[in-house]
Each structure stands twice: as C-alpha cells, then as structure tokens.
C-alpha cells in the first residue's frame, strides 16, 4: 500500500512540475497590508502569485485575515499598503464594479424576490444583451450546475446546496476571469458539503476559471485545491500543493493546523540524532543545522510509524501501551503511552484491519518504529529548521 502511495506522489510531483512550467501568473498580490480603523492589523505583508486556471485555497483559522484578503481582491475592503495586479492591470484602487471577478458568499446572497433564472440573469440583463441570448446563457448555466428545471422557482424553495449552485451560476454568468469563493460550503451539512466539493472542483477544472477560495476547513482545502496558502496572523506561512503542505510543513503552525501531529520535546545530539526521553531518535534528511545541545521539537504525524511485520531493521523502535482508542469508522486513533518517552502519550493511527491484526485495544502493549524519514525538526522557539 505504501509503495502505491509513493508512486502516486511521484506522479503528482511530475504533474506539478509540468503545470508549474506552463502556468502564468494571472493575479499578483504584492506586499498587501491592511490595518483597520481600530488599529487592528488584519494583514501584515502578503505576497501571493495566483496562476492561470488554478484553484488556490486561502486556509487559516478564523481571524487570520484570509477573508479580509479576499475582500481586498474584490475591492470590498481597501488595503493600507501594497498592490494587486490582475492580468497586467493594477487594480489596487479600482472600485469593485471596474474589476473583473465573480464572487460567491457564505450566505449565497441570492435575491429572495427574484426567481432562480432572474438571479442567474442578473448580471447579464444589465449588459443589454438580446433576450434570447440571455435566456440561452441562463439555460446553459443552469444545466451546468444541474438545476435545469428550477428556473421558475424562488431561492427560498431550494435546499442549501441548490442555492449554493445557483450562487455559483450567477457568479459565472458573466464569464469573469477570476472566481472568488468565500467559505462557500460552511453553511451546508456534512454530506452535501462533500458532494459539492467535488462538483465545484469539477466545474472549475471544466471551465478553467482561476479561482481563489477561502476556507478554515483543511480537509476541504486539501481535497479541492491545486495549491494552498496557509495564513496565520496576517502572514502567509506556506504556499504549496496539498501534499507539500501536509508532508513538508514549513512551520510548526502549518504542521499543527493541517492534519494531526505529535510534538516531542528533544535535544539535538548532532548528525541527525536527537534525544527524546530515554531514547535517541534518528532523523533522516538534513537535520545538521541543529548544534548539539540545542533544544528542539520533533513533529510526527500519527500515521508515520511502522508496526509488526515492517519493523526489521527499522530505526527508532519503541514500546508503548494503548491507553485509549477512538473509533473513526474505517480507521481509529489510538493513544499510546511510550515507555522510552517516559510515558508521554502519542497519537497513533491504525486502519481497522490493523486494529484487528495487531490486537490494538486498551491495555495492549505494542512495538512501533517511528519513521525516521518522516520526522520534522523545528527549533524549540518554533521556526522551521
């Protein structure tokens, strides 16, 4: 299974490289800064290049400034510094109406007193296109979002997911070159959210429209984005493909925010070796920047361990006792108190099959190997090594 995954990753990486070469920047955010009237600094200094036809997710906790950034791109807020260039045109100071984008809000903001067809046609009618042309475009869009027969109904008669599709159709009707999505799925229930994720992504690929999506849901960002920009305290912490962000988090914040992670306090010994508790842990990769004696923190994801059957010759072998098992459906998360770490609990991930095969249950003792190639080292203050 692991090798299959590795293979897929290699493919992804290759594809990424090809896309990168072909991609040209369509929106460039240069040193954008935002301080509100109450002196709250929402954005410190944002540099971002958005590529042609990609889906970029702005991911971060609430209050990190991601929505402010989206609103600045839309011209709904004014930056206090920096500039924004779209297709070679400086749009930093243009009012919203003179910018080229479509937007979908969390609340959808559908006009309740207009029918679905009138909502979708809202921006088209204003361009004084012939009636037949408008009608044809509306039909085309409603078909595109799978609601071809709902044109005569009012937004209040549709489900949340259907309203979301209409909001999307309305935003796309005028064929903007940039699509902005502000937490578009957060008002939906879990199943609808997962279905729409796929549909939006599919539509975006089909139309090739450059898209920026704001979300606080890392799973949503990972499943939909070509690239993710992780934002925290008004700064971009890391930009990269979902795999990049997950496997090679640039900062402890990214490691923490995206996916689950175990943190082990340790002291560098030099040569890629670290003392944690009573054990010396081996880390593959370039860890030489940490001088011996320097305190560090080791980050390890719950799935980055080997179990019985794959332990032969593996480094970092430890014993632990299962103290808790959280059942997640097809998998489970166990909490194990590791002997060598003086009983410090680690979250370890098991598939349901492994759960049965290895006899993982509260009180069981198991041997594990912490994968040396997966351990990320950050200094104790939190900067990436």
């Amino acid at each position: 299974m692991d090798t299959a995954l590795q293979g897929a990753l290699v493919d992804e990486a290759a594809g990424e490289a090809v896309r990168e070469a072909a991609a040209s920047t369509t929106l460039s955010i240069e040193g954008v800064h935002k301080r509100f009237d109450n002196h709250f600094v929402a954005l410190q200094h944002i540099d971002l290049q958005v590529r042609q036809s990609e889906m970029l997710c702005l991911l971060g906790p609430s209050g990190c400034g991601k929505t402010t950034l989206l609103r600045i791109i839309a011209g709904l807020e004014t930056q206090t510094g920096g500039r924004i260039v779209q297709n070679g045109r400086d749009i930093s100071l243009l009012p919203p109406r003179e910018r080229d984008y479509g937007i979908v809000f969390q609340s959808y903001a559908l006009f309740p007193n207009l029918t679905i067809a009138q909502n979708v046609a809202y921006g088209l009618v204003n361009r004084k296109r012939p009636k037949a042309e408008v009608q044809a475009r509306v039909d085309e869009l409603l078909t595109l979002v799978g609601l071809a027969t709902s044109g005569d109904r009012y937004p209040g008669q549709l489900s949340g997911g259907q309203q979301q599709r209409i909001a999307l159709a309305r935003a796309l009707a005028t064929a903007p070159r940039l699509l902005l999505l502000d937490e578009p799925l957060s008002a939906l229930d879990a199943l609808e959210r997962i279905r729409l994720r796929g549909e939006i992504r599919c539509l975006q690929r089909q139309l090739g429209v450059t898209t920026i999506m704001v979300t606080h849901d890392q799973e949503e960002a990972m499943s939909m984005a070509d690239r993710i920009a992780v934002i925290n305290h008004g700064l971009v912490e890391q930009v990269g493909s979902p795999q990049d962000i997950y496997e090679r988090p640039a900062t402890p914040f990214v490691a923490d925010f995206v996916g689950k992670v175990n943190v082990l306090p340790a002291v560098a010994l030099g040569g890629g070796r670290f003392r944690a508790g009573r054990i010396e842990l081996q880390c593959a990769g370039d860890c030489s920047t940490h001088a011996p004696g320097e305190p560090v923190r080791l980050y390890l994801r719950p799935e980055d361990r080997a179990t019985a059957g794959a332990l032969d010759g593996a480094a970092n072998r430890v014993w632990g006792r299962v103290s808790k098992v959280e059942f997640l459906g097809g998998s489970c998360m166990a909490e194990m108190c590791i002997d060598e770490l003086n009983g410090q609990p680690l979250h370890i991930y098991f598939s349901l099959n492994q759960l049965h095969d290895l006899g993982v249950r509260v009180g069981a003792r198991l041997e594990l190997a912490l994968r040396s190639d997966r351990i990320r080292v950050f200094d104790a203050k939190g900067a990436a090594q």
């Binding site: 011209g75 004014t78 479509g102 903001a109 006009f111 007193n113 309305r170």
Partner: protein, 571 residues
C-alpha cells in the same frame, strides 16, 4: 472628484465610481436635511436663550426665569406627574403585553387592536372624554369622592388622561420585548423543576429589562413634553410644557420660552442617552438565535388574563366611546338626544372644514415624503460604504428626534425659520414647514422600523451587484425596496396617523390657511365648545381608523402580488 487615486495619511482610498458619488451625494443630502431641520432649530433655541431681546449675549432670560417664584413648583409638578404616569402606565401595559404573549387568552388580536386605538386620537381627546366622565357635570363624579378627590381638574386629570395616551406606546415596546423570549430557557427551567414565580423573576424580567427601561423613558418624555392634556384638563396646575406655550403664544416672550424649552430638553436628553444605550443591548439580544416561546394553556391563569384584558379594553373603549358620544348628543348632561349639529358646527359654521382637509393633506404629504426620506436615509446608512466620518453623525441625527419634545422642536422652528435674514424664511407658516416638522418629529421610530427591515437583508447584496457590474440603485429598486415593501408601507401608515393627531409640534407653526384639525380642537375646547371639539376629535379617530382599514385591504392585495416569493412553498 478626480479619477486620480486618492491618497490619505492613513492609507489609500479606492477610486470613486459613479455609484459611490451618487451614494455620497444622497447621503450628504439626507444629513444636510437633518442638520437644517433638526440641529439648526435646536441651536436657534440655545442661542435665543442666551441673548437678550436686542440680540446681545446675556443670561438675563435665565436669571429672570430662575427668579420666578413658581418655577421650582412647575418643574416638580412636571416631574412627579410624569413619574406617576410611568408608574401606572408601564405596569398596566406590562401585564397586558404579558397576557398577549404568555397566555392562551382568546381574542388576542382584538385586544391588541383595541389597545392601540389611543394612537389614532389627538391627545386632547382623552382629556375631553375624562372631563365628560369625571368633570363638574360628569356621570362618575361621585366616584372621585371615594378616592378622596374633589375635582378631576389638575394633576389627577392629567395623570389619568396621559395613562390612556401612553398606554399603547408602552405596550408596543413591551410586546416586542416579551415576544423575544427564548423558549429554550423556559424548557431548561422546567426540566430543573423551577417554580413559576422563580421563572418570572429569573428569566422573564431580566429578558425584558431593556424593554422596560425603554418603555419608562418613552412614557416619561411623552408626558413631560405634552402640553395639550394639561392645557385642557390641568386647571391651574402648572407644568413646564404649558409654561412654554404661554410664554410664546400668550406673552410672545421667545427668550423666556427658549429658556423653558431648554429645561424641557434636559430630562428628554437624559432619557435619550439611557434609551440609546439600552437599545444597543436590546439589539444584541435580538440577534441571538433563539426558539420562540409558545404559551401552553393554563385554565386559571388564562381566565385571569382574559378578564384583565377585557377590563382594560372596556376602560380604553369607554374613553374613546365617551368622546364619540359627546360628539353626537345635544348638550351634556341636560339634553342627551342625538344630533349631528356639533359636526355641522365644526365643519360648516365654525369654518373648520379646511382644518380637517389640511390635516388630511398633512397626513398624505408626510406619508409620501417622510417615508421616502426615512427609507432612503436608512438604506444609505445601513447598506453603503464611504464617508466613514459622516456616518456616526448621520446615525446620531437619525436617533436624536426621539429626544426632542414636539413643543421644543416647534419653538426651534419659529426661532430659526421666522428670522427675517433666514433664506428659508418663506417656509414659515406654510404647509411644507408643517410637513417637515412632522417628518423630523417622528423620524426616529420610522428610521428604526426601516433599519430593522433592512438588517434582515443579506449584507452582500450590494457587493454581489457590484461584482456583476449592476449599479447599486438598480438593485435597490429591484430587490431591496420590493423585499422591504411591508415595512415601507408600515412607515407610510405611521406617518399618516401621527400627522392626523399631532399637536405639540405644530401648534407654533400653523397660519390662518394651514390651521390643522388638532389645533382647531384645542381652540374649540378653549372657547368652551366641547361638543364640536369632540366632533372634530372623533372625526380624526374615524378617519385614521378608516384609512388603516382601507390600507390593510389595499396592502393585502399589493403584498399578494409583490411578495409571492415569501409564500412560495418549500421543497
């Protein structure tokens, strides 16, 4: 504005689009309107109070007034009478509102309708009716002896008539406060086996605390600044509001009038500050998500509440009924045969038909122009951006009229617009100035209605239409206005009804050609012609009631057409 990007010390501004320019222009116009017709007249009062009669700075009027021996007595009278009305009217309205929201009493909507009738009448109607009941020749005069009174004239008459007048005002506020209750709190209390009394003191009262404070301030301001009732039923009992009227109309002493006006403004401004703080908290409570409380039938309690509502409604109807009856009988109490001669006298012999038509015109103009100004103003303040420095001022100006007693506003209008050097002098004593003064006087409550309706709209409509390159005013006409139509129609009806009944704001501003029905009632009553006064007052009540009825029929048809989306079935 140049197309160049604007730079400011703090940062940068977006280039202004045509939409922005229109928004800013209209918003500035609304603010200018409020400055000119609210702030400037208030400033004129203040200036006049600190000038002597030759226009030099002097505190002579203050000094003279403060030396009036009766002044302290007058202030004390105003305060304790207002306080007493609060103590009677607010609890009475609270129990009534409680019955309407928390019991399963039958006929609730009928009770509510009857309770709101006093709003349709000029405040004088109550005074006239109570004189008929308890005056020197009143049917129930012997009742006075039981409670140790010798006469209804004076404080007792003012208090009872003002309780009648303020009851619906307090009721409306308390109904809103009580209907905001979160049903889940009561369910939680029930699951913890809480006693009814404890629920009342730990859930009900705290949750409508702000509504109660608001009702208290509204009633207090109403009573302390109303001069019609004390003038008719007050006898020799002096209050501040009558003092202003006498200084200005009786003695033409504007300086002294301005001083008393300022005194009257003090309690109003204090209540305004309290009320605006309270409203902010009320709003926070309103936006919380809650499950509405649903009353469960409780036989004894429901019967008690029904009995209370019936009693209050009978009392309220007895007042308006007495006024109606007075207008139809020959001569109280000697000849009780029915006649139309009071109507004939009022409308034909007294030549007051113009007064009635003037009131109708005032109502119509105010409904149209007031609604337009208030709704456009509220829309711009709530839903647009730009001019961030002007916005706090615009909000303040929209809330301020609530704090200005009508009499004081009217006095300000004379002092400001009657100055020969004021270019707007031509407005003085015309219909437009009456319309303007009524719009300003009732601006705040209409503004709040509009704001509440606008707040229910998604905040991003304007952003969406900008992204679709649709000008904001198209969205205003296609979406905002149609969706808010019920509120807009409510505001128009409110403006009409209050214009028909208003007295204290316009009593300084009418001329021979623009005399209003409410003013004519005051003058008729002053001349001892109670029958015709009652006839005219009844005519106002009947007209307003008829208009409200027609209006609800017409709006029902209109709303059926424009609000189809509301009733369209769900999935």
């Amino acid at each position: 504005m140049s197309s160049e990007a604007l730079r400011t010390a703090g940062g940068r501004r977006l280039r202004l689009s045509r939409d922005d320019l229109i928004v800013r222009g209209v918003l500035l116009a609304v603010v200018a309107f409020l400055v000119l017709f609210l702030l400037a007249p208030m400033a004129a009062i203040f200036l006049r109070a600190v000038q002597d009669n030759d226009g030099n700075f002097s505190l002579a009027h203050f000094a003279a007034h403060l030396q009036t021996p009766s002044l302290l007595r007058t202030i004390w009278n105003s305060v304790w009478v207002s306080g007493t009305v609060v103590l009677i009217s607010v609890p009475m309205a609270f129990v009534f509102a409680y019955a309407l929201t928390r019991s399963c009493a039958p006929l609730k909507s009928t009770f509510r309708l009857i309770a709101l009738i006093p709003l349709l009448a000029p405040s004088l109607l109550a005074a006239i009716a109570f004189i008929q009941w308890f005056g020197n020749q009143g049917v129930l005069k012997p009742l006075l002896g039981w409670v140790g009174l010798t006469t209804i004239y004076g404080a007792p008459g003012i208090i009872i008539a003002q309780v009648y007048n303020t009851f619906p005002h307090a009721l409306m506020i308390l109904l809103t406060a009580l209907s905001l209750a979160d049903g889940r709190l009561y369910e939680a209390a029930d699951s913890l086996d809480t006693s009814t009394l404890r629920k009342f003191f730990t859930i009900t009262l705290p949750s409508c605390k702000y509504g109660l404070i608001s009702a208290v301030t509204v009633v207090f301001i109403y009573v302390i600044s109303d001069f019609g009732v004390p003038r008719v039923i007050g006898g020799n009992f002096n209050v501040l509001a009558v003092d202003v009227y006498q200084q200005v109309v009786g003695q033409q002493n504007f300086g002294r009038g301005a001083v008393v006006g300022l005194l009257l403004l003090i309690p109003a401004v204090v209540s305004f500050v309290i009320d605006s703080r309270v409203r902010r908290k009320l709003h926070a409570q309103l936006s919380a998500r809650s499950v509405p409380y649903a009353a469960k039938p409780r036989r004894g309690f429901d019967a008690l509440m029904t009995a209370y509502c019936v009693l209050v409604c009978v009392l309220l109807l007895a007042v308006v009924g007495m006024a109606l009856w007075t207008s139809f009988i020959k001569l109280w109490p000697y000849d009780l045969s029915l006649t139309l001669r009071h109507y004939k006298f009022a409308l034909i012999e007294g030549d007051l038909a113009t007064a009635y038509t003037n009131s109708l015109k005032l109502g119509a103009y105010t409904a149209v122009f007031g609604t337009l100004t208030v709704f456009v103003g509220a829309y711009l303040m709530e839903k647009t951006r730009g001019l961030e420095l002007v916005r706090p001022l615009s909000h303040l100006l929209a809330m301020l009229p609530m704090a200005v007693p009508g009499l004081v506003l009217g006095l300000g209008y004379i002092l400001f617009f009657n100055r020969p050097d004021n270019p707007l002098n031509f407005l003085y004593a015309t219909m437009p100035i009456l319309v303007l003064s009524v719009i300003i006087r009732y601006y705040t409550s209409s503004h709040l209605t509009a704001v509440t309706a606008l707040k229910q709209l998604d905040n991003e409509f304007e952003a969406v239409s900008a992204s679709l390159k649709v000008p904001f005013y198209k969205t205003f006409f296609r979406v905002t206005l149609p969706v808010c139509l019920p509120a807009v129609l409510d505001i128009a009806r409110y403006f009409f009804v209050v214009s028909m009944a208003t007295l204290s704001g316009v009593v300084f501003l009418y001329s021979h050609d623009t005399v209003l029905a409410s003013v004519a009632i005051l003058n008729l009553d002053g001349a001892g012609k109670t029958g015709p006064a009652a006839a005219l007052a009844s005519l106002i009540v009947l007209t307003s009631a008829a208009v409200c009825l027609l209006y609800s029929l017409a709006t029902r048809v209109l709303l059926l057409k424009t609000q189809a989306w509301r009733s369209a079935g769900r999935r």
